[in-house]
Symmetry: C3
Subunit: 140 residues, 3 copies
């Protein structure tokens, strides 16, 4: 019989740039280790609605491509209806929607069960202020 | 030692408009309360493939922007191959793909563990008929 | 009192085409059956960053539409920065981002709790080589 465990932690960000991709695989790994969970899942989810969390390649060229691509699909500086509230970040809400705002990572044998190139990223689209990601581990 | 619990519920929709964003944060909250789970996760997932579930801002301007943006990225009224089956809703399948069809929300201290602006929405892209969202709570 | 269980399995792919959508609902179902879990969730997640996993319609016309649409939103053959590493698959990383790289399916009464038209697909965007999807079941 196995005993269920949960463990909750938070990662904090305050990026110097408005838009930035921050690799967080190691931080999530450490939280999984600390949790003591050997088999289960960990949820990594942005708590702010102009940021995302995604899994993809740790390669600067591709990260650059993501930035250009998102700007093309969800351009900044347009006359969005949301901006009538005084905000200027509607594009950040759209960009984070394309990238996704959360991932679930499997934990097998007490480790993140990731493929060879899978890296976890925090995607900031409206930075320069304190923001938070919840990391919730659940398993046995 | 903790005891594992699951709880399954369903939300039903029949929107008057073909396309509509419906806030469901309170409904999901109530199901979490009812479940008695104090630490865990809740899956909120559209059971129909022309609808989505997403987390973003509860602001009418932005919701309007989402609608215009989705129409631009995945236009309706085009000559989609899917329409040879008699359907006219291929764009709804594409739009829901951009928004995402499910979210997982963390439960901490018996409450949804959401950031200050996070709200959960049901995104209908082919409404005016009865549809369903599954809400599955798992935890301790 | 309920006993928590986890079960981990992997699906392998080596698609003859570079881009291909492969239905995997039955394979996931079988793993859920084998796991013995009656209430819980199953994570189905691509372990390679040029592939995705999504839920949508099992209809050839729509699958064709998805292909054309993804090519329009994330075209191949462009001068991506990522290609300076010798790769030629930047578009595959972008396409899989739109489709999503993982889904969580609810398990109720020992079965996948899916809507009438929900089917699970593996979305390959850079195939012709061996790739893997993790299927992790958690529940009671």
């Amino acid at each position: 019989m196995t005993i269920m465990k949960t463990h909750t932690d938070y990662l904090f960000f305050n990026t110097p740039e408005r838009r930035e991709m921050v690799r967080i695989t190691d931080e999530v790994s450490k939280i999984v280790e600390k949790s003591g969970v050997r088999e289960g899942m960990v949820l990594v989810s942005a708590m702010h609605i102009t940021a995302g969390v995604y899994v993809n390649d740790w390669e600067d060229g591709l990260i650059h491509d993501f930035g250009e691509w998102l700007e093309k699909l969800a351009p900044s500086g347009r006359n969005y209806r949301h901006h009538q509230t005084g905000e200027d970040n509607a594009d950040a809400h759209l960009k984070r929607t394309i990238m996704g705002h959360q991932v679930i990572l499997p934990i097998t044998n007490a480790k993140l069960d990731l493929g060879p190139w899978e890296q976890v990223f925090y995607a900031e689209f409206d930075g320069r202020r304190r923001k938070r990601v919840v990391v919730k581990v659940m398993g046995e």
